[in-house]
């Protein structure tokens, strides 16, 4: 029987990569990536991020930091997008964007403070408009829409960049944000770091969608995939999306394919749900080794330069760790301040009572 059918819409999802896992270019590189200095600074950002990550885990293991989410193996996503952003764009991170935050001007000490359990870690001295880390998954996606709305209302050529994980794409707020961003053609770029896991849930069980990039189709704008372990591809894709958004052409979604080499956090034990061999295989995709290989082959990166880079990053991380460990906690009043611009009378009473309670506790041994 003939069926009454006409095709009314069709869509495609593209994938981008420049460097193969061994660091060999598969295609001619984008302009920025032919400049040795540009690549070296990307490389240093990757190395610094990994050094910070290792130190954070070491501090946690020795009881000097709280639960911490490692970004081991995913550094290129954060570094690529952080490098592509303009200073006055606004970053809305999830939790594994250490590399991007550092490039944005967030101090290593600030991130140590935050994961060390001190609210001042979110009071960035630079990157004043960037959002703090967002623990409730995907709940920052609507914030990015609001930030982009502010840019649109003020006719500013700025873009909000929201980063989330593969698991976040299952949440309603993620989708609502995409839909409004599309409906209002807002300058916002959604970067989905697909590290293949949401704690113990593999990407394959998170959604039946063949790609996470196609989540954007439901919201009426384009999405694409990129090799998230190829920092050149990430930076290039994010840069394109940013220019597109700056020109008023609306939002874009980038799915960066990578792999979470670490446990979900220091509180997690991934061996309960995935076997180490399969994880080990992903080291072949290591974004740092990949860029180093390319630098060596194409730009004569030397052993001395490598060692100097490692050393300076290690030193920078050590300095930050010491500064963090030397930072005294906030005064007790900090429990009450910062909630309202000016302390309401009702809360002032509690603030006083609390001070009294502490004084009492100090006097007695009951505490």
């Amino acid at each position: 029987m003939v069926v009454a059918v006409t095709t009314v819409a069709s869509f495609e999802i593209e994938y981008r990569r420049y460097l193969d896992p061994s660091g060999r270019p598969e295609r001619s590189l984008p302009a920025f990536a032919r400049d040795r200095d540009a690549l070296v600074s990307l490389y240093r950002a990757l190395v610094l991020t990994r050094a910070f990550d290792a130190k954070a885990i070491a501090l946690q293991r020795t009881g000097r930091l709280g639960t911490y989410p490692s970004c081991l193996g995913q550094e290129a996503v954060a570094v690529g997008l952080g490098d592509a952003m303009a200073p006055d764009d606004v970053l809305l991170p999830y939790a594994r964007e250490q590399g991007a935050q550092f490039l944005r001007g967030v101090a290593l000490t600030e991130l140590f403070l935050y994961w060390g359990g001190d609210e001042r870690g979110s009071d960035f001295r630079r990157a004043r408009e960037d959002f703090p880390i967002c623990v409730p998954v995907a709940s920052h996606a609507p914030h990015a829409v609001g930030v982009a709305l502010a840019f649109q209302l003020r006719n500013e050529r700025r873009v909000a960049v929201c980063v989330s994980g593969d698991g976040a794409t299952s949440k309603g707020d993620f989708y609502e944000a995409l839909n409004v961003a599309g409906a209002w053609r807002l300058p916002v770029v959604f970067v989905v770091t697909n590290n293949q896991w949401a704690i113990s849930l593999p990407r394959s069980a998170q959604t039946a969608a063949a790609t996470l990039a196609q989540k954007a189709i439901a919201a009426g704008f384009a999405g694409g995939q990129v090799d998230g372990n190829d920092v050149i591809a990430v930076r290039d894709a994010v840069h394109r999306a940013l220019s597109h958004a700056r020109d008023g052409a609306g939002p874009h979604l980038i799915e960066a394919l990578t792999y979470r080499l670490s446990d979900h956090t220091t509180a997690d034990n991934a061996s309960r749900y995935r076997d180490d061999e399969s994880v080990g295989g992903h080291w072949r995709e290591d974004p740092i080794a990949r860029l180093r290989a390319h630098l060596t082959a194409a730009h004569g990166w030397t052993k001395d330069e490598e060692e100097a880079t490692l050393a300076s990053c290690a030193a920078e991380v050590e300095r930050a760790a010491e500064e963090y460990l030397a930072t005294p906690p906030q005064p007790p009043e900090a429990v009450f301040d910062y909630l309202y611009e000016s302390l309401p009378a009702d809360l002032a009473g509690q603030r006083a009572a609390a001070a009294e309670a502490q004084a009492a506790a100090a006097r007695s041994d009951d505490g």
């Binding site: 609210e119 707020d173 009378a345």
Partner: protein
């Protein structure tokens, strides 16, 4: 009250271009209750925005645009649909200043018509103000007259922190009164004393002031005079005024439309017994909705606290000694 709210919004938008109005049907339709009527024509589609049907996004994008220095006034079409916005209000709006030690702030107002008594369809009669009064960092404000609606909404919009502004829809059009559009804000930290008396303190907010004032009238006719307090700003709460009144009267009845258990009346009664026990000459009674779902229109009248129930409680309290 609708006109007063509309005037306050227009005033706020005219005097501060950072003020935005957004929500479902707030534009050309002027809001399903017409609270935003005319704002689109006057201030344009940039500042008066119809949103897609998505309460989480409405609240969440408001947090984002507020962090950028705008002053969004977001409408949730009915309080029964505010639940999808709770996550954004609890985890973000109320905490952004706290989380960033004051670096980013959230000068946001979320408006929502609330309460029953208008023979509405399902999920259109809820009063869940107590759930929000429990959220640190979030102000909860409820007007009970056109004049207070005007002054409190202006104050809420000018306040640098997030405010949940609940509008008792049953009296949207009931009470008519001339409200001078003078830009004068009402205080966000004090009860309003609507009647003066010596024998009894009646505490209420929102539409329940109708039954409460009617009961006070009735009692006055019988020679019993009551303080009638409109709490207005549930959070932060002005307990001082209530304590002073009960110190004088020794007797208190609290009236609210929401279910009894864990309703906001409990907080007021608890503070009375904690800080005013000596002045209490009778048990503090609560006249409230029952711990049930608001019934559909045919039985709704059995649920709503009536003047008769307020009077009965008042008389019991007065009889006590």
């Amino acid at each position: 009250m609708v006109q007063a709210l509309n005037a306050a919004l227009a005033r706020a938008m005219a005097e501060d271009e950072r003020v935005l109005v957004l929500g479902e049907d707030v534009g050309i339709d002027g809001g399903v209750f017409r609270v935003t009527d005319g704002l689109l024509d006057r201030f344009g589609a940039g500042r008066v925005r119809d949103t897609p049907l998505a309460e989480t996004a409405i609240a969440g994008l408001s947090v984002g645009v507020a962090a950028q220095g705008f002053r969004p006034v977001a409408e949730i079409q009915f309080m029964g649909f505010i639940h999808s916005a709770v996550d954004q209000l609890v985890c973000h709006a109320s905490r952004l200043r706290w989380r960033t030690r004051g670096r980013l702030t959230c000068p946001l107002v979320v408006r929502a018509p609330y309460g029953g008594g208008i023979h509405a369809i399902e999920h259109h009669s809820e009063s869940t103000e107590a759930m929000f009064a429990h959220v640190p960092g979030l102000r909860v404000v409820i007007p009970s007259s056109p004049a207070r609606a005007y002054g409190l909404l202006l104050a809420a919009i000018r306040d640098p922190d997030p405010v949940l502004f609940l509008e008792p829809k049953r009296i949207y059009r009931a009470l008519k009164e001339e409200v001078p559009d003078n830009g004068a804000a009402a205080p966000l930290d004090s009860c309003f004393q609507l009647r003066d008396g010596d024998d009894l303190t009646l505490v209420a907010w929102g539409a329940m002031l109708v039954e409460t004032l009617a009961a006070a009238e009735r009692l006055a006719a019988e020679g019993v005079t009551a303080d009638v307090l409109d709490v207005a700003t549930l959070s932060p709460l002005d307990m001082g005024t209530i304590l002073r009144s009960v110190e004088k009267t020794g007797r208190c009845v609290i009236v609210h439309e929401a279910p009894l258990t864990a309703g906001f009346g409990a907080e007021i009664a608890a503070r009375l017994v904690e800080h005013g026990l000596l002045s209490l000459r009778a048990p503090v009674k609560r006249v409230t909705g029952y711990d049930t779902v608001p019934p559909l229109p045919r039985l709704e009248h059995l649920y709503m606290p009536s003047t008769a129930r307020v009077l009965a409680a008042a008389r019991e309290t007065l009889a006590y000694s």
